[in-house]
Symmetry: C2
DNA sequence: GCTATTAAGAGAAAAAATTAACAAGCTATT
DNA sequence: AATAGCTTGTTAATTTTTTCTCTTAATAGC
């Protein structure tokens, strides 16, 4: 690992993608996969795949390929998702509710251990209607207290846009380590709190650009 | 525009981001913005901002900066969102419901004109409870017919993962032009149907990597 | 056990993207 | 009308990322 000083951001994005594809391969009971196969599934170059892995170690067997299960484990370790990450969701509208019952999180060791809203009582019927309430909805004024008590490291913002920055500030104040903002309004955090904004419209913008050009 | 033969994919991603930030500036009633200001807000280099725009034309005034409104218009035109894009959402669970009432789409000229589910009757109460039903939920067997009748160009998949590929195939069969897959399972489409997979866990994976390293 | 085949890993080369530097152009002021 | 002060657009330099080529290692068949 001392061999490489800096790992491309794009490599990290691809690792996450490889992981998903390997999950699919595992489902299909494939034991080994060559870089060429992975490349094909993920729409990248085979040399790219090998190089991406090479940043972190030697995970393959020459002449054979990569052991799917083992490679998954390695990637999870690289990404840091080989342990549980405790998450709070703030803003339990439709989007927040969707996350609370989102099974895929668990596969990746993400666990939603708290949910907040300005009107907890409003929410209850809404969620439980279809899936049962997976976690109690708390009033957002308890945010700081509960983040600490439950060792929460990541906050997901699913409020309306006009509340997003305020909630981000609260999360920062609660000593959260990272924030994923799913509201359509970009938020800012101080240097020490990692942030990802994920906008649906951006994904559509991108799609539409390539549809138009 | 003949000056540049190929535009970086990253530039397109950033354009979408600039657009969001410009929207914010507009809200704050800022009339002009320098590349340095935009760069600061979007966490990129000022030269990058200017270069990104330069691929497509000269939108600024030397000594002054960029007119916010005008620049927004230009970017929208570049991305192809200066006209209405008609969208179908397939799978009206929590996530699908969230999209149906997602106000931000309209700002970007995205209009959801159809919604499909395997059990339309199951859905009705679920959505209308909080926002009123914005669009009738149809049985998914009517997909092809309705996509054609309503001139739908984009499909968004919000089904459970095990249905995602099947729905993608249906959308392709219905002559859809582009697909945004929000289900956690990657899908594939033929060359001529543009595809974007958007995974929540990938955003978290990325966040967690930088939290861990 | 040897050989042919396959596929990873390493390093070099090529391509692409970002950043820096600067000339050109606009505005305001005197 | 000339000049000073900014900020863009552009070219050049640098850095980063991707791709190619070649070497090495493992496996399977004979």
């Amino acid at each position: 690992m001392a061999k490489y000083s800096k790992i491309p951001e794009a490599t990290i994005r691809r690792l996450s993608n490889y992981l998903k594809c390997l999950g699919d391969l595992e489902t299909k009971n494939e034991k080994v996969a060559s870089s060429a196969l992975i490349a094909n599934i993920c729409n990248v170059n085979a040399a790219q795949v090998r190089k991406d892995f090479a940043y972190f170690g030697e995970f393959g067997i020459r002449g054979m390929g990569y052991n799917v299960k083992e490679l998954k484990r390695h990637i999870k370790e690289i990404l840091g998702i080989n342990r549980e990450w405790r998450i709070a969701v703030v803003g339990i509208g439709n989007m927040g509710s969707a996350l609370l019952v989102y099974k895929d999180f668990l596969k990746q060791n993400y666990k939603i251990v708290a949910a907040f809203d300005v009107q907890p009582e409003r929410v209850i019927g809404h969620i439980s209607e279809r899936v049962g309430r997976p976690v109690e909805i708390l009033h957002v004024e308890r945010l700081k207290e509960v983040v600490k008590a439950r060792n929460i490291e990541i906050g997901i913002i699913t409020t309306p846009p006009q509340e997003a920055q305020k909630v981000a500030d609260w999360l920062v104040d609660a000593n959260i380590k990272g924030i994923l903002n799913l509201s359509p309004s970009p938020v800012r955090t101080p240097e020490h709190v990692k942030l990802r904004n994920l906008f649906f419209t951006s994904a559509l913008d991108n799609l539409v650009y390539y549809l138009s050009n």
